[in-house]
Symmetry: D3
Subunit: 225 residues, 6 copies
């Protein structure tokens, strides 16, 4: 299968190299099983720090996005180190570089691409370009809930969700640099128009990624009628 | 002022070099008055042809977007020819090249940047990056209507519209390659978060652009409360 | 064998995706048989439109050539879509990128390279760089005639032609952007100095390419004594 | 004057945007006085975090250097935000990009360039390439001491020091990624061979940079007999 | 005026830095008088050495051309050193880089661009792209003769020559790497189609270039009826 | 094994294509045995000529280094011609390009990378980045001596040498462009910090490289306690 993994920036950061090692083992296993893999990694805490500094320096939202993107690339670079010879050694910076790197047959790692775009949108764009079979979004919650689980204890995890419902759930979220929640509207549009299969899972234990690839019933599946 | 002009692809195409000449005269005039200008040009009919061919070859929506983007760059290149020495001679392909070109002090021309993104979104991203004073969207209708004027003869032109209203009006539009209507959700989010002043005008006569820069009351103004 | 295919821009254009599909099938077949293939595609009608527009905007011949080159790259991109994973995903823009792309072992696609140079010359340059075994020039006539067949009904198709004769036949043709006839003097010089085997064939049915590769007696063969 | 400022990574970091603002004011003042300025910024604490993570993932020293370099570029990017339109908007990544950016007449910002090379060495290389009149090294101590002031309370600040003495003082320091002390041997060799004037100053208050440019007697001056 | 200077590789080589200094003085003078200048420098003796080595290693003519091109860039780089801050610091490698560099307003230096193309052709391509007012070809003979002056003592220097005559004189020359004589067919075609004014002069004393710019009657002028 | 070969510029030059052929045969043999190989080639006599010219034109040491680097790339390009399809066709110019090229699985060739850095240092940086098993430095003497063998007839060849001793032997050498002796301090620091195995051998007969790879007792081995 052609797989795109979007790893939340909350999961990958320099203070926790142990996590990165485990993630690399998972990707190594997927490659061994014959899958082709692209990995998109978020900016996490480091990104947030630089974005905050950017704002207090009066940078435009676009420039501050750029800072977050560069930070996400640090995380992606760190991940390539753990993967070693299986990975294209440069973190790709836009769709052109992505296509070049993909041509080598190696695993490809990316952070953000462009201002105004979350790393979730990047993973959807890549999934669309390579006609991926599955886009796995590994985050720090168990999947998609019908309401915000951090605010409402009665929020219910959805096993399956249509793009339509998802749009309703996610509507009204602001696109301020570094504060994208789950799946932003751009990502959603791309997922919808290309009917991309998406699994949102709790990635704190990265072996769940393998479960998702095998089709086990974890997290939330975005479905297209 | 720092200005971003988004010119609809329906206006710029090789069959009508006369239009391009007039547009170049307008930009020349703006430069003479001391404005700095970035121009983003859509793909228009050529883009549509290549996107249709791409689809019938089974290309993914992302790849077909890429075809449309390359076509829009042809139009942008054509425009640079009419501007001559006032313009950065290469059509910029992403935000990094945009920033480099902008550093030279010349007019900068762009077509699309990336799959999943309309040229309207590109113009909003650029406007945000350079902290533009005004983003002018020159299209083939008189501005923004409360309903689709091509379907409903009673549609009313809005003099001013908030982002909130605009989102309501534009909601539910699909993001299929080459079929972006007016202002897509990504463009809208960026316009909103950075409170970018936007004027949507009828650009069939490009001198309306100068009117819009001078603050004359034409087309629709997107306002931020 | 190492093969360079030069496909006339008159054959590849977005209005005829069926042709592109057939061409892709032919290249796929060649790859299956173990050949390595580079494909150079002309600008055709789209190029002509943009070149005409460029001229009426007062662009220099060099700039107008550049427009034609960009248009030829659109056609080459369209072709890569039909080939899918067998092809290097980016259309190469100069000889440096060509060499990089060729190193991957994939099929490589190009449009034009540089002002003052036809895509026939590009195909000869590539053939020389990679020491190609055969350069096939697929066009819309049956081969090389002793006189211009569009002007003289008695023109005779040549089975074999030496570079010397060819130069005599082609002498005095003007090198105006987008109007290169058959084989321009630069292409001819390169073919001569490196003694490149060239077959000029009618490519309207792309399976003739396979015939030419197999050494069947079609079209015109340029021979070196 | 042509000036190169090397700012210790300990001074520039996202947690202290106030410092960056002050530094930008200093550079703005230097530009106003007619100086041309290149600024090289170290990686500081962020670099150290990523280098540590890299080591615990088993990355080679070269790869870990690369992580530190990318981190230093984040700091340099942050600095460009505070400088706005006076600065070349992209952080330069090697000497080729440096020369291109310098050609625009703008302030140029860099982080690290290459594994095995401190940002001090980068600043010396740049100073040499542009024949800088002065290289100012702004750090967190008052200048160069005859012994390590953090270990020996009797260490004495040197007003002037020859390269010969400096080499003696600095000898035997290890070149482990992210642990370069003051001036490494490569930087020293370049400073020596091109007789670059160097002032090492306490940059915690960035206005000391202006004092150093004016030739005031602060910090340590590296002299060439 | 917009000027392109093509300097024969026989004139510029590392063994004669004195010549390069004088040439730089001439260009400096031209810039002072308000001209914009592009300089194209041939490969000369170094190129020939590498091309010979390439041939004896069995390299294709195209690869050997590439060696000569790289050698010509060494000469161009040497020239930029003598010009200092007036020149774009990087030697441009293709027409895209040329256009970028030209946008800065500085003098631009080039060696060769592409296999199959002499540096004379490069100078014609550049002249066409920037709509140059004059292309000066400084070589080691006094201009264009009616016959080869090295073979025939009765060869007569032509004051003016049409492209038509020139083509007759130059016909039948081989295009073997590094052995282009005077003006090759590609250069000639471009000169013809864009009616470029060309002066061929003896550049052994580079001040003749200033004479040619001032319209003095030296060397041979290529004229267009 | 992962091998880095540093070939002295004194060995590779266009006047001796026979040597390059033999060297290519050796590398071909190593590839056949399953080794992965990077080759770094010095500038030799051509570099020295251009550096001398640069100095007499008043170029800074950094710029003159750049001239030497470009010259070394000519030699590296010449070597790629002899290797043909086994080698990545472009000479890599910095560590980023090196990593990209290495990802293809081909032999990679480099000349110099950056001013202030010998090609020995480049070979050490590459060895570190790819975690090479052995760095072979092929030069024109039999290995490392306890004193300068060109000055002292009693100088003794060392079979093994520690970095510590080596530093003592090499201390006090100047880093003037093109005059790096054996192993410069930067190379030494990298060799030390990453404990790189280094063999210094007489490469005048390139088959000694195979002997060194097989662990035969030739030249000098740099050892880490």
């Amino acid at each position: 299968m052609k797989l795109v993994l979007k790893i939340s920036g909350k999961l990958v950061n320099p203070e926790d190299p142990g996590y990165i090692l485990k993630l690399a083992d998972v990707v190594r296993e997927l490659v061994r099983e014959g899958h082709r893999v692209a990995v998109v990694i978020g900016g996490g805490g480091i990104a947030r720090k630089y974005i905050d500094a950017c704002r207090s320096l009066g940078g435009s939202e676009g420039i501050c996005d750029l800072m977050g993107i560069e930070a996400s690339r640090l995380n992606a670079l760190l991940f390539t180190i753990a993967l070693g010879d299986l990975v294209y050694r440069r973190v790709v910076r836009n769709i052109d570089e992505m296509l070049e790197a993909w041509s080598t047959g190696l695993v490809v790692a990316a952070g953000g691409f462009q201002p105004g775009q979350s790393t979730v949108a990047v993973s959807a764009i890549i999934a669309e370009m390579i006609s991926a079979d599955l886009l796995i979004y590994a985050t720090v919650v168990s999947g998609i809930y019908d309401r915000d689980p951090t605010l409402d204890p009665n929020a219910k995890l959805l096993k399956r969700v249509s793009v339509e419902e998802l749009r309703r759930i996610l509507s009204r979220q602001s696109v301020s640099a570094g504060r994208y929640e789950l799946i932003d509207p751009l990502a959603l549009s791309i997922i919808e128009r290309s009917r991309i299969r998406v699994a949102v899972i709790d990635g704190r234990d990265p072996t769940t990624i393998i479960q998702a690839v095998r089709g086990e019933d974890i997290g939330t599946l975005v479905v297209h009628e």
